[in-house]
């Protein structure tokens, strides 16, 4: 019976499963023993304890008396914030560089090439640390802030942007603005009398902006008060460095994807667009890019996943994201190696899965339907 190759393979795979299970069992046993020896217990109860540490940058309110669970939420939001920011800027920058790479202009073409090659062939971590230590930490002190247009100040403590103080009585206006924004994609697809609303739905975001502006009481500009700056919102240098580092690194890869996809469009499409008399930007925007987009989507998905994963590099420059806070501070304080690391890994698995699902859904929508 064992002589038959198919049977042998069948038996072999059960043996493999057995080996994996045995390995897992031994590891679980060892962990149990090790924890027992150190008088530790496995469990997620520590999440309810007060944390007693400060998180310098938070999107939602945070005090040292909040629980570890709240710290998880705060650091998760920081991770999501930098990922979303980096995805947007990396896409725009990548698109620009990718198109520059195909320019007829020798200078533009080769500057883009040099940018891509240099960025792609140097480590991302070194780039991020370079931006943080070599550039942002070398900026002047708050007293000698560099003034940028629009009342923005730049100094060693970060980027200070003007802040809108909302009128507390007109609170409902900002909610209305949010509702308008959220409704836009649905109104876009709505049909009135068999006709899609489409672009007319773009009136809604404009309306939202108007509502938002109406709810603003006054603007505060960052100003020097004594040795520090008052007013405005501070964007910490860690966020700026991480954001720049990730965006620039990913943009070089995205630029190559954009170039590859544009080159993959059959020449007939260019010629047809030329024949009906479209201008060069119209050819690009109306004919070439929409088709190139289809080819781009799967590769862009993996780039976006890379961006989310590389947000973890913020731990190296003390940006308070999941790794810095949870496998750093919380792990040191609570001493729960297995629990904290599995929480962070589980969160990253979920974020990855969500992004893949969204991008796959988008891919199915834009994919060419062969009839």
């Amino acid at each position: 019976m064992i002589r038959r190759p198919s049977r042998r393979a069948y038996l072999g795979q059960w043996l493999l499963l057995l080996a994996v299970a045995a390995g897992g069992w031994i590891i679980v046993g060892n962990v149990g023993e090790n924890l027992a020896r150190k008088n530790l217990h496995f469990g997620f109860g520590f999440l309810e304890q007060e944390s007693h540490f400060d998180i310098p940058f938070h999107l939602i309110s945070w005090t040292v008396f909040n629980t570890y669970a709240r710290a998880l939420l705060v650091s998760l939001l920081n991770t999501v914030l930098v990922s979303v920011l980096a995805i947007v800027t990396a896409t725009l920058l990548g698109l620009l560089v990718g198109i520059m790479r195909l320019s007829v202009n020798w200078l533009v073409r080769n500057i883009a090439l040099a940018y891509i090659e240099f960025v792609r062939n140097t480590p991302q971590l070194v780039q991020i640390i370079f931006w943080y230590v070599g550039v942002l930490q070398a900026l002047p002190s708050p007293r000698q802030s560099i003034a940028l247009p629009g009342g923005i100040l730049l100094n060693i403590r970060g980027l200070y942007i003007p802040d809108a103080v909302m009128d507390p009585d007109l609170d409902w206006l900002s909610w209305l603005a949010l509702a308008c924004l959220a409704a836009t994609p649905f109104v876009w697809r709505l049909r009135i009398g068999g006709e899609r609303i489409g672009r007319k739905a773009l009136l809604l975001p404009v309306l939202a902006l108007a509502f938002f502006a109406a709810g603003v009481d006054h603007l505060t500009y960052p100003e020097l008060k004594g040795f520090n700056l008052a007013g405005g919102t501070q964007v910490p240098p860690e966020l700026v460095a991480l954001w720049m580092g990730i965006s620039i690194y990913a943009s070089a890869f995205i630029a190559e994807i954009v170039r590859g996809s544009i080159e993959a469009i059959p020449r007939g499409q260019h010629e047809a667009a030329l024949a009906i008399g479209l201008h060069s930007w119209q050819r690009l925007g109306l004919v070439i890019l929409p088709q190139a987009l289809r080819i781009m989507v799967p590769q862009m998905t993996s780039q976006y996943l890379n961006i989310i994963k590389s947000s973890s590099l913020g731990a190296a420059i003390a940006y308070p994201e999941l790794f810095a806070i949870f496998t750093g501070t919380v792990l040191n304080q609570a001493g729960k190696e297995i629990e904290t690391i599995s929480i962070v890994v589980a969160i990253f698995l979920t974020l990855n899965l969500l992004t893949s699902l969204t991008m796959n859904w988008y891919n199915r929508r834009v994919a060419l339907v062969e009839r």
Partner: protein
């Protein structure tokens, strides 16, 4: 003709870069200039704008890197100019390359590097006859020699502990060990993922997707903090080796996806033909499918090595002393404060040289592999 001359990008328009029928060297050069810089009004404006921008950026950069920079001297006092202080890099060069490896023993590191180059050349050269044999040598004989040289303790070579290893040498070492370990693992996983056996397939997919979904930093933290808990009482594994094991598992998953691409490119007929001459499954894979698949994914594997080499800098975060760690330490030296820019620029340039060489090689190989398809030389 006039319509085609109007400036639009090649690829975005169709190719108007084919040389016009212009005779003579000077007219040809002028024609090239016109087509590449001044094809149309917009194009000329773009050229001027870019030239202006370069004029703003390049001279200060050049002044910082070359004209105002200092490289002579032995202390911080030598660096008085406005430019970069390369003296700092020059004085700390051994630290960046060898870490804390004993200075009188560094010849061993250099010799290992030379051996690596000597063993790699026949593997990478175009005209090698028995490439498989040389790959095998690179993966067996070379590591044995390298261990002997670097660790020592025999043949009169003094013993050097792994905690003294560091600098760029550690990056190269980690990259080599991880590639050597993850290539076989990746091949097995790729075969497993394409297997018809349900359990093997499921295990392979779960393994690959898990490692591909977590950040590398998580992998390193697992190696530093969780693996010690997995081991029975009294068993301790060196921190470097734990990191290497975790990195092999991590990179194995990426390698598997690269190899799978190659496996999918081998026509079914090859496998069927091999079975029909009476070969067993493993013979079919080892002698027919894999040689063809691996040749096709060689560029992909080299690109994977480039990515891995860049990522070896992350071991700094778990406290291993690689080149980035060496730079960070040198920057904290009170005698040399304030040269972060020089330090990181130096690191970037070093990595750029290595990685650019490798990715150029990968690109060249890709072109050579596709030559029969496009008919281009």
């Amino acid at each position: 003709m006039t319509v085609q001359r109007e400036g639009y990008a090649p690829g975005i328009g169709y190719d108007d870069r084919a040389p016009d029928r212009v005779e003579g060297l000077v007219p040809r050069a002028l024609d090239w200039l016109r087509r590449n810089f001044f094809g149309s009004l917009g194009n000329s404006a773009l050229t001027l704008a870019v030239l202006g921008l370069l004029f703003l950026v390049l001279p200060p950069l050049l002044r910082w890197v070359v004209t105002d920079a200092t490289i002579s001297g032995a202390t911080k006092a030598a660096c008085e100019g406005e430019g970069a202080c390369w003296t700092f890099i020059r004085m700390r060069l051994p630290l960046f390359f060898y870490g804390h490896y004993p200075p009188e023993e560094t010849w061993r590191v250099v010799l290992t590097g030379l051996l690596l180059a000597a063993f790699s050349v026949p593997v990478l050269r175009d005209s090698t006859r028995r490439r498989g044999f040389w790959v095998l040598m690179l993966l067996t004989v070379f590591p044995a020699l390298a261990t002997l040289l670097l660790v020592g303790g025999v043949l009169g070579l003094p013993y050097v502990d792994t905690t003294k290893w560091g600098g760029l040498m550690l990056d190269v070492l980690v990259a080599f060990v991880v590639v050597a370990g993850s290539l076989p693992l990746g091949i097995l996983l790729a075969l497993g993922r394409r297997s018809e056996l349900m359990i093997v397939k499921t295990i392979s997919i779960c393994f690959i997707e898990f490692w591909r979904a977590v950040p590398l930093l998580a992998v390193l933290i697992i190696s530093a903090l969780m693996i010690p808990l997995f081991l029975p009482d009294g068993v301790h594994i060196d921190r470097l080796i734990r990191a290497l094991v975790a990195l092999v598992l991590f990179n194995g998953a990426y390698m598997a996806e690269t190899v799978r691409g190659g496996l999918q490119g081998v026509p079914m007929g090859q496998e069927e033909a091999a079975y029909s001459v009476g070969l067993r499954w493993w013979q079919v894979q080892a002698f027919v499918v894999l040689p063809q698949a691996l040749r096709h994914v060689m560029p992909g594997i080299v690109n994977n090595v480039v990515d891995l080499f860049k990522d070896t800098t992350l071991v700094t975060i778990i406290g291993l002393f690689d080149v980035l760690g060496a730079i960070n330490q040198a920057l904290k030296d009170p005698a040399w404060l304030g040269f972060a820019r020089e330090g990181y620029v130096f690191t970037m340039v070093m990595f750029f040289v290595c990685c650019f060489a490798m990715s150029s090689y990968a690109r060249r190989m890709e072109r050579r592999l596709n030559r029969h398809k496009t008919g281009r030389k």
